[in-house]
Symmetry: C2
Subunit: 301 residues, 2 copies
């Protein structure tokens, strides 16, 4: 059997897997990364993650998902917030030197969107927007089966759309971005504004909410409503038929999902609300990266 | 010579014109409409506007722009805020019974966007968003030469994207929409909130601003900043290379344009700001409607 090699470059590790066209992962491998790594170290980590999976006869395409900024056409990771010493790393060149098959690079949120469209709950949607709820807030759009890449793969920075004009300071330097209210960073930041207390992880905030803590509840509700308004904007602009929320923060969906869905449905145009599906679940990043190969085949005929 | 017939259904009139492929209007005609008109009266008004222009040998396509809600595929105007007695009017059927050539219907903001891309200052843009600044706030997107229609032509309701969560009440029933801050309706509404005074027309607000009135200045600046944030969201999502602001309110561009452009450029990602062009000018609605024919030809080969 012949496989796709999906590679997900995450915050602290590289995950790779051999997948089939039905979205089944047949073999997996992981290598850790850390902030001290330069291009050579990072290349070595990729080798650690993929060498055990490589078999020239059984892999027919490679998809790589990475946080930005990247150049998807040239296959370059310009830089990385998690790997400050990484600089203009030619990731596709490095991998295709090992195994020369069609290879694709895209940003992680775009991969999540494509993976959700090919293999996730929204499979078959004609107009799907995916929100990635993690450290930051990302987004990707698949329209009529095709990923929207924007300029050099910079598209769909929904985390950096303004929902509260002149609101909280965002990591991007602007005010009132959606990400500064609903993301691990944003929720922790707003909780600190509210209480003066620094939590170590967003999981602690969710524990506080479950225990009935009023300040934590208030911050989660605020974030939830901002996220709903960001989703409203997407629906009224792009008329998507489906929204999927994926990523780590969806593990606490029971604490905000109903409020979120209700606010979205009640604020978009009725004709768009009637046909709108809202899903949530894990971001299966290896599948998302691998689905780049399937889209590439389709686009290249 | 053979022409395109462009028809613009506006708030109080129907305007029609014979145009050529270079965007020159060769002959024009207008018929007034009023709120008492039912389907028959409206059909009669269309005849008044176009009959003098009809010559079966010289028209090879018809484009109609109308406020929504419409069904662009079926060629139907479902209803109209300005013509409350209009109901499911089959506008393309009516016109093609007179002259049987390819005919297209789309909403006015979409037509403005397409017209700007074919004939306006943004001519040749590969990724253009057009804001229509009039009674309301509309928007249209032309990506790689193709209009984004969304679901049944409902796309790009940028006036109904949330910029101030839980902000001012909008005509759509929601809170904090861009339209409730920057549009003739929105500016007048916010000025009334601020001062208790009802102005008759947005032109009066602009006169007050020019005379140094502080309340009027404050409301215009607020609206301008909201519009800038709505534009920021579009740039960060869609990575447009050009934005055109068109419509009546651009006549007062000198009172807000510099502030608007500056806020947009300073709030979008630098890589997107560097390549962003911002234009403003009249909405030449007949040309916009007519450009539907040129796009139709391109799409149909």
């Amino acid at each position: 059997m012949s496989y796709i090699l999906g590679i997900d470059i995450g915050a602290g590790s590289i995950k790779a897997g051999l997948i089939d066209r039905n979205g089944k992962i047949h073999k997996e491998s992981t290598a850790r990364t850390d902030a001290s790594m330069n291009n050579d170290h990072f290349a070595h980590a990729i080798s650690l993650a993929i060498d055990s999976l490589l078999d020239k006869n059984s892999i027919y395409g490679i998809g790589v998902g990475s946080p930005g900024p990247i150049d998807s056409k040239k296959g370059i990771i310009h830089s990385s917030a998690n790997l400050p010493k990484l600089n203009q790393f030619e990731v596709l060149q490095y991998i295709t030197n090992k195994i020369n098959v069609p290879a694709y690079l895209n940003n992680d949120a775009n991969c999540a969107a494509l993976g959700e469209c090919y293999f996730g709950k929204a499979k078959g949607s004609k107009n799907l927007f995916v929100f990635t709820l993690g450290t930051g807030l990302g987004g990707g759009w698949v329209y009529e089966g095709k990923l929207f890449n924007g300029f050099d793969g910079n598209g769909m920075e929904v985390g950096h759309t303004t929902i509260i004009k002149d609101g909280a300071v965002c990591g991007c330097g602007n005010l009132g971005c959606a990400e500064s209210y609903f993301s691990a960073k944003g929720l922790l930041g707003r909780y600190k504004d509210e209480t003066g207390t620094t939590l170590n992880a967003v999981s602690e905030l969710f524990v506080l909410v479950e225990s009935g803590n009023a300040a934590a509840r208030k911050i989660l509700d605020l974030g939830c409503d901002v996220l709903a308004d960001a989703a409203r904007n997407i629906v009224n602009l792009l008329n998507v038929d489906s929204i999927s929320f994926v990523g780590g923060l969806t593990q606490s969906w029971h604490l905000y999902g109903e409020r979120l869905s209700k606010r979205i449905h009640s604020s978009v145009f009725p004709i768009l609300s009637n046909r709108l599906n809202i899903y949530y679940g894990e971001n299966q990043a290896i599948l998302g990266a691998g689905s780049l190969v399937m889209e590439g085949e389709k686009l290249n005929g």
